[in-house]
Symmetry: C2
């Protein structure tokens, strides 16, 4: 029996949301155009969403009830339908990827697009790409690829991979083999059940047993006739993932039992083997970076939109959820009004605004780098590699944390799968470990910072050579001293906050450099790796400080750009789409809140280096800390009346958010009720478990109780 009762409608939620929306004074649409980089882009997304949201194949409401296998099946169905629509509606590549993004499912096809395809197209020889129309098949998804790097025993450290590709001059073939259990390819997206082809990282072994280290090889995995595995190849799914995450993707394993592939299937654009088995060296080794930069730029953009979702859902829920003290109207207070709630949620909102702009800047920089690269100019690669590493760490760390903070801020109902946040956490939490484990990336960021520090302080490099990523180092060679903060102007003086974040990075890098110097003097080691550092978490802190200084610098420029937006020279938006004074003021407030909460969250750094000095001479350190926190609460309370408008501006539809608690109209209780009715357990009044287990338990209990009762009566 399904429950059919029609619940009593409860209008308070809707009234609360209406009123909150009326309080908003910003022009929401203009903010939306700003966030989407123009009205055209926004309309493009909106149009695609109209198509998707009407198509039952993209229905999101059944997802929480589907098994892993059903999620995999519907993922395949979604993928097929996307390409059907691409063809019938004539979508461009860009429009297709917008569709994939809005659907929000981790699909196996994304591994084909972001890993297999770029690696194959960039690193294959011309002849391989043209044979059998390989590049066209790849582009049009006539084959489905996987990128086989990680093994059971090795991940980030590519040089230790164990899979071998032994060259056999007699037949001009490679023998691809998995010699050990730990050499089994593992975690590879789309490898388990979907992929027909793979690019495999394997140690190239030349005649005589010479090990040339990891190289890439194209391997067909499954028959294009019937999708059966080709001889010598074993693949499968690695099983369910933490929190039920990434369910539609068949992260898989593969083992190769002496699989022969023709020599031309080595991806030989840069490194090759002659027919006789001689190695031909790659001309330069660093070109791979540009792909990583591209993927990381995409990750930062994803993270920014996730923060936006976290902020939208939690702020909407907190606006209609009433709890605690009763106000003059006899109603309890909406929880968004509690300082302890809004000082948790508004910084997430501010981060979303900041990271959306940062992601856009990164895309612009990536395009500039690509343009230069195409004419052989690698001058921008190092800088972009450094900044994207740092932003990837900070972006993924924040976004994962913000999703949980937002979910938990919703109390009990936040634990419902219908909140729409837990599934995002489940799908995105691995981003803190993939595409360069954050800890490994930390080291890269810090090494680049130390190198720049040594260059600049040795006097060998002019100040003018400083890049945005290490611009803060100028402070160490100038006559400046750290700024004294005027408590009165803390909310209106982002320049000082930016300077503080730069000083903190400078202080931490300088301190680390001298610590490493002391160490190497004492131990003779070069002190370049954290293993030899006594303070084991220092790299993480320095990397964070350096990246936050970079972001602060970028924010300074973004604030300048905002002033341009408001006058006729503003360069990005068309005249009628330009932000008004009010919207500009709000965005500046959001940026300032970002700066303030960034400082607050690393307070120990600022205090350790005595960087939090207020102009009032009487102030003790604890007073300075108090003033900083009070200022955060103040700026939050100023943003509060605009919070609903500022989240509406992200332009999420209810269909896209798929959250009972983040409903646009505030009808959260009605929606929780309706969604609960879909639960499979509710389709029967008496559950199947009753006859088998519950009844025997109750009967036993009754028998025991009666026997005791009789005993007692005797």
């Amino acid at each position: 029996m399904s429950i059919t009762m029609d619940p009593i409608t409860h209008r308070q939620n809707e009234t609360d949301m209406d009123n909150a929306r009326k309080r908003t004074s910003v022009h929401v649409e203009k903010l939306t155009w700003f966030l989407y980089n123009g009205r055209d882009k926004w309309l493009q997304k909106h149009k695609i969403e109209q198509v998707l949201s009407k198509d039952p194949i993209f229905d999101k409401t059944r997802r929480p009830f589907e098994t892993r296998t059903e999620r995999f099946n519907s993922g395949a169905r979604i993928t097929n339908r996307i390409f059907e629509l691409q063809e019938s509606l004539g979508w461009t590549e860009e429009e297709t990827s917008i569709a994939e993004f809005i659907i929000g499912e981790p699909l196996p096809i994304s591994l084909h697009n972001t890993a297999f395809s770029p690696v194959l197209l960039t690193l294959s020889s011309r002849s391989l790409l043209s044979s059998n129309s390989l590049s066209l098949l790849t582009k049009h998804h006539g084959i489905h690829g996987a990128y086989l790097q990680t093994e059971l025993g090795h991940g980030t450290n590519v040089s230790s991979l164990e899979t071998t590709a032994t060259y056999l001059p007699s037949t001009k073939e490679f023998d691809l083999h998995s010699p050990t259990l730990s050499s089994t390819k593992w975690w590879v997206g789309a490898l388990g059940k979907t992929a027909t082809h793979g690019v495999v990282q394997a140690k190239l072994i030349l005649p005589g047993g010479r090990d040339m280290g990891p190289h890439l090889f194209l391997v067909q995995l499954r028959s294009l006739e019937d999708h059966k595995l080709l001889p010598g190849i074993t693949t499968g799914d690695v099983g369910p993932k933490a929190f039920g995450g990434y369910a539609p993707t068949d992260n898989g394993f593969a083992r190769f039992n002496h699989v022969r592939i023709p020599k031309r299937q080595m991806l030989s654009k840069f490194a090759d083997v002659t027919d006789e088995g001689k190695y031909v060296k790659p001309p330069h080794a660093k070109l791979n970076y540009s792909g990583m930069v591209y993927i990381r730029a995409g990750l930062v953009s994803n993270c920014a939109w996730l923060m936006a979702k976290a902020a939208t859902i939690s702020i909407r829920y907190a606006t209609v959820r009433r709890q605690g003290t009763k106000g003059p109207d006899g109603l309890e207070v909406p929880i968004i009004n509690y300082p302890s709630v809004y000082v948790r949620l508004l910084p997430i909102l501010s981060r979303a605004y900041v990271f959306l702009e940062l992601a856009r800047n990164m895309t612009t920089s990536y395009n500039a780098m690509s343009n230069r690269l195409s004419s052989g100019d690698t001058s921008l690669v190092a800088e972009l590699h450094a900044t994207t590493s740092g932003l990837k760490i900070l972006g993924t760390t924040h976004c994962i944390q913000d999703l949980e903070t937002a979910r938990r801020s919703m109390g009990g109902h936040g634990y419902s799968a219908f909140s729409g946040l837990a599934n995002l956490y489940a799908d995105y939490v691995p981003s803190v470990t993939f595409e360069g484990e954050n800890y490994v990336l930390d080291q890269q960021t810090v090494r680049a910072a130390l190198k720049a520090f040594r260059d600049i302080t040795s006097g060998n490099t002019p100040l003018s050579s400083l890049q945005p990523s290490n611009h803060y180092l100028r402070l160490l060679v100038s006559e400046q001293i750290p700024p004294i903060i005027n408590p009165i102007s803390l909310t209106t003086d982002p320049a000082t906050l930016i300077l503080l974040l730069e000083w903190r990075a400078a202080a931490l890098v300088k301190d680390l450099a001298s610590m490493l110097k002391r160490n190497s003097a004492a131990t003779g080691s070069d002190g370049s790796t954290p293993q030899s550092v006594e303070d084991a978490t220092v790299y993480q802190r320095v990397s964070k400080a350096v990246t936050e200084a970079f972001i602060a610098g970028q924010l300074g420029k973004m604030l300048q750009d905002l002033d341009l937006e408001s006058n006729p020279k503003g360069r990005r938006l068309k005249e009628d789409q330009k932000l008004g004074e009010k919207e500009l003021r709000m965005i500046k407030k959001l940026y300032t809140l970002y700066l303030l909460s960034t400082i607050e969250s690393s307070l120990a750094d600022f205090l350790a280096f005595d960087l939090l000095r207020m102009s009032d001479a009487d102030n003790s350190t604890s007073d300075a800390v108090f003033i900083l926190r009070r200022t955060i609460a103040e700026i939050c309370s100023e943003l509060l009346p605009e919070a609903i408008g500022l989240t509406d501006a992200f332009g999420f539809s209810d269909w896209e958010l798929n959250s009972a608690l983040g409903r646009y109209d505030g009808r959260v209780y009605q929606t929780l009720w309706e969604k609960a009715q879909m639960e499979p357990l509710n389709q029967k009044e008496v559950p199947d478990a009753y006859e088998e287990s519950i009844k025997p338990m109750l009967l036993r209990g009754r028998r025991q109780a009666m026997s005791v009762a009789r005993g007692a009566k005797l």
Copy 2:
């Protein structure tokens, strides 16, 4: 086709684990007896586990593959089997709850045991309990109860619940009703499909419409004949939970449509209604606390064991996972050897040791309180209420965070459901919001601290009246000054660390009190709630500081007790079970590490109040911070060779942990391989999705590619 390939065995993992175990110098069994409070207790658990682990009904390996409904069904099966075994093996209540604990499934029966049963037995009238053998049926699970408090619209704030129980003098009945959608009972464990009875929180409405606020009523929900819902009652499951957590429990909803219950079903031990409808007041209102104290003591113990699991799994994995730099043996370094890894994991280990002891102390205190209460002495209630609130917040917060830290430390493989940690996070993350939302509890802890502060500084209360929960306040009325730290003895001088934590609590409470005084002088408000506090997160920080000072004080006593253990006056363990010198030294190191890392994690507090002063006069603040962190790394590296022994001591079997990565023998790759073969998707070589979706996509792609290729050739 299932994959049958026999993978090549890889022995390195096992060798690594063997060697690590050989390096351990502590007497693991003695530590186990210590942690379990005696060899008898340990053997009792072990014996029960032997029974469970051989019974296929308790098999844990299929859980990751089961649907929500299957998890519910197997949960019911497990419950029935537990009571079958209880009867056939003659288990005591204690042994039965040990069995439930080891099984580790969140079962609906636990709500009967921890909520329904104590509330019913404590608050019902004698006549209700004896009618129809109600208390015996409750005790023997002849009925299954749920505790219906939370509603869609209200949780913690009981006074705003909307469900009504209107007394009808004409028939001597209550009319139980759900007047609005938001009054629907929601989230109630076991309510959806299992419970036959419920205790319902509802507003008592007396004749004339007088609203007496929330009271408790017993209601039968389902027929004991066929488990069908009784007239006027609608129940159902609220749907899936975040991260797939709590799957076996049917957290449910209920609506009452003018359901009549006889007057004696009001739980009237303390508050009652006369036949005519007059209210009879409860004698005193605070007795409920003791139940909360008991539940919280249980939560802290759970949390401690979860920290122990997090430490065991992650430390074992890190011991056999090799990555990065190659050592002299040609093998990469085990990741546990990286400072950045062990300074994340060993503090978790130390917290587990500390919280296991704290939980035991709480149980002792709870028993003392119960004894006094039974003779009407309520003198211990307030103190235990205060300390358990704080410990509940700190314990749940740490344990949830530690589970994720441990999982993420395992990199890519940590994202496998087979890691055995994600499911624990999914099941336990709601503990930060239930049994008193941590934020609400923070306020209670802080209010108690402020009251004690005012009492003691006003001079009206003697120092001797200070309880363990506010013993740190003595510092504010003595002539003492904060200690100067000798960097040399940081690792061997826990007394100074304890004093530092106490000074920090004293400084924060004093600071908050004067801030509130300023506020109330300025605004006229009494400043007792955080709404009126400009620094919105201050309550959280103060609560943490106060609880950590309490724990520090307890640790001081625990360290004294350890000295007793080693000499003949040791009072807890039998002579032959006593810890030796080595084990005592290790436990002291673990406690010291706990103290150091607690200070480090709240560094901003210590710096803001200038509490981190080292005896070397030249030291700057940043040097003091550096020395503190170096000391943590040092003590971690001293503990490192014993880490496997210290985790083995928790006494988890592979069956109990159910983790591919936390295997006792280190065979992690073999186990990941074997578990992956169980994945349902792997039971067919070609997935079902191929014909329906993958094939059409590939064919379309090939057609498009060919058409472009032909076009290109023209």
